[in-house]
Amino acid sequence: MSESFARRRVLAVLAAAAVLPVAACGGVKGGSDDAGSDYPTRAVNFTVPFAAGGSGDLISRAVAKAAEKPLGQSIVIANKPGANGAVGGKEVLASTPDGYNIALAVKSLFAITPLVVNDPTAIQPDKMEIVATLVQEDYVLVVNAASPYKTLEELVKAPSVKYATAGVGTGGQLSQALLFKGAGTTATDVPFDGGAPAVTALLGRQVDAMSGSLAETMEHIKAGKLRPLAIFSTERSEFLPDVPTAKEKGYDVVVDQRRFIIAPAGLPEAVSTKLEQSFAEARKDPAYETFLKDNYMERWEVSDEEARQHLKDSATEFATLTQRFGLTFKS
């Protein structure tokens, strides 16, 4: 008898433990101040819609850590990967605009993903507020150090090029597709499951070239295993000053990745100001500065309107370019 009683108690305690946190969350949510003048009164949830360990995760952790002090509350990171950031992003944008739910977002989701997938429920820019813009990451075209192609001119004249990409709808794919199409090269894209497998394939000379972010390629370039031929930015990168831009070489292909922080539209004025100021402060943090240098990321710090305009312009530009070259990523 007593044994079964004890067991029931254990179960009851477990059940209560399961219910408690839920109840606690509900209570706090209901109590939040509409005007947001005392924001923040509790921890802020920062959704990273990418897997742990990747560039998107690392930059989020770096900036969140620096923003905790000016914000006066802790920032809790949760990884919620899926569909190039769409899964986590949509969820945060569907939440109450109270400043307690923010998310990292990337340019490619707005500028490249629409070229690849038809998503009627895609995030509409007017549903979000951009509380901080963070970084710009350039794509660099690399070949294996043992490759016979020493320059961009030699590569585009090759009889056939097999190029690796980090996947469908990535900047690496778009930049190479536009370049080789523009140069009239017979080229086949071979999408891999992320940047690291694509770099691996190039290191093993399974493919002829790849375009990847500096974070993915720089260590191999430094070690002399990969050779950079061109960079797909408007100006040369501070990290690779000797590498010409594709533009200099006569191919007007500018593709980059940009990362920023979003919140659902309709934040109270005080909340949005507090968030903007806190992240502006965080970007001045010396540890954040070191992080950017170590990870070959360049600062991109503009206003909400400028950022929106940039996303819009890039989306139009990419759509026009792919159309002009007759490229289709949709199937």
Partner: protein, 504 residues
């Protein structure tokens, strides 16, 4: 290899701070390994912020400890509850769970721990001696080689089942189909996603394994609650008997080598290694019919292999800067945060980190062995818990684990749906093993094959032109054509001899 830096690596390990973090790491790892679903990748990600304030070497020693410690812990739920939390422990569940039902849970876990220790240690020795060499060889593996390797794996999967071959093949086929859910890996078009983002990246392996094995098994057992349960009277002992040791020592050795070699390959190396080790043991056994019914070699081989693979999967990360699996990807991030970019220069620029981490694994494996043997006695008592309590607790732990993968409630519904499927399969006599493994290998097979076709400009003969892939194709052909044909010829001869006297 520079002997001096190897030795100074040992000095690094024995610094009190590093010793402490090693112990913390492996203990934590073992604990999260026991919780199905909460894998090492998630744990390391959670601990990333803490490592900010620790020096690089102890930080990485601790995080690495979590990874290989989890391999020890993962076996426990695989054997006791048939809940494989990692693809590489799926095959352990086949015979391990049967052993547990026969009251030999202690032996199964004991041999797994010893096998893991030997496999892990052998792999570190090989890593120390030939890491850079092996790393370069791994680069020779391109899409073509992965295609053939995955094909071999799927063939092995089909032979895993205990029952009718046709049922194993069917289960494997459905597993392959389920692997196609998500965005097409080469075109990006959504397949079977029903317009939802939730399925865009496909279904996580853990969800499939937890659903089919764990939840399916629980549902099945609930139905049988009214019937007399096979009482588990004894658990056996954790130190294997002489007979058991004799039966498994060769399996452990073979498993260690297989694990080391395949673990180096980025993407699915550990899973393939446990699968290959199991198949090799089944072939090597005099009486292969024991497999799937509690053969100790079926636990010893794969467990040695997956631990050896866990260790050798550090090779691409530390020597090339390539993360071989999800956990290595998080470790990659951890190194970056420490200001130590993983890459070819790591061993040159930071020999203390490299050798400190590598040598800490000797110690970590020893601690894990010492930790697991007494703990086995504690864990097996789980089996004594009444089903009415164990079942909801298992479901609860499963749900937490599944949720923790992507912090997504949708996945919890998915695991229930797959649990119902697993229940149905069990009722109809289909094995979840082939299904789950085919699911894992299916993604590898499809994307590698289609990448190969692009690289070969659509010419299938390309597979024969590359030396490594040609050898693998030969292995494949020998297994599926030559061996069965020989067997058929032999059995016909035997039949003829048997018939002849009656014809006279």
């Amino acid at each position: 290899m520079d002997v001096g830096s190897v030795l100074s690596g040992f000095a690094v390990v024995f610094e009190p701070q590093n010793l402490l973090y090693c112990v913390i790491g492996v203990t934590l790892g073992m604990l999260v390994g026991v919780l199905p679903g909460l894998g090492p990748a998630a744990t390391i990600a959670i601990l990333l912020p803490i490592t900010y304030n620790i020096e690089p070497t102890p930080a990485v020693i601790m995080l690495a400890g979590i990874f290989y410690g989890a391999q020890y812990g993962g076996t426990i739920t695989s054997v006791l509850l048939r809940l494989p939390g990692e693809a590489s422990t799926v095959v352990t569940a086949l015979d391990g769970y049967q052993m547990a039902r026969q009251g030999k849970a202690g032996s199964a876990l004991g041999i797994a721990a010893i096998g893991s220790f030997i496999g892990g240690t052998a792999s570190i020795i090989l890593l120390t001696l030939i890491a850079p060499l092996v790393a370069d060889a791994a680069l020779e593996f391109g899409p073509a080689e992965y295609t053939v390797l995955a094909l071999i794996g799927i063939l092995l999967v089909a032979t895993l089942g205990n029952g009718a071959l046709i049922k194993s093949v069917t289960a494997a086929g459905v597993g392959l189909l389920l692997a196609t859910v998500g965005l097409d890996p080469l075109m990006g078009s959504p397949r079977f996603t029903f317009g939802s983002d939730q399925l865009a990246d496909g279904i996580d392996f853990v969800i499939v394994a937890m659903g089919l094995f764990g939840v399916g098994e629980i549902l099945y057992n609930l139905e049988h609650r009214l019937r007399p349960q096979p009482a588990v009277l004894s658990f056996g002992r954790a130190i294997p008997r002489r007979m058991e040791w004799l039966a498994s020592r060769m399996a452990i050795l073979r498993g260690s080598v297989i694990g080391f070699v395949l673990g180096v390959l980025p993407g699915g190396g550990a899973t393939m290694s446990s699968l290959v080790a199991y198949a090799v043991e089944k072939r090597a056994a005099k009486d292969s019919s024991r497999f799937g019914k509690g053969a100790i070699e079926g636990v010893a081989g794969p467990e040695s292999a997956n631990n050896a693979a866990a260790t050798s999967s550090f090779i691409p990360l530390l020597t090339l800067g390539i993360p071989a699996n999800a956990t290595m990807a998080v470790l990659f991030g951890a190194l970056l945060l420490q200001g130590i970019p993983p890459g070819p220069q790591l061993i040159v620029d930071h020999p203390d980190v490299f050798w400190g981490v590598v040598n800490s694994m000797y110690l970590g494996n020893l601690i894990l062995l010492l930790l697991s043997i007494p703990l086995i006695g504690v864990f097996v008592r789980l089996l004594r818990v009444r089903a009415g309590i164990l079942a909801p607790l298992t479901v609860l732990v499963t749900m937490i684990g599944v949720y923790s993968i992507r912090n997504n409630a949708f996945d919890m519904f998915l695991v229930i749906a797959l649990g119902i499927l697993g229940y149905g399969m069990k009722k109809l006599g289909f094995e979840p093993g082939p299904f789950v493994l085919a699911f894992v290998l299916g993604k590898l097979l499809e994307s590698s094959f289609r990448r190969s076709m692009r690289l070969f400009d659509g010419d299938v003969l390309g597979f024969f032109r590359r030396p490594v892939s040609a050898v693998l194709v030969a292995v494949l052909l020998i297994t599926i054509v030559v061996v069965p044909v020989l067997r058929m010829v032999r059995s016909r001869q035997a039949a003829r001899i048997a018939r002849e006297p009656s014809q006279v």
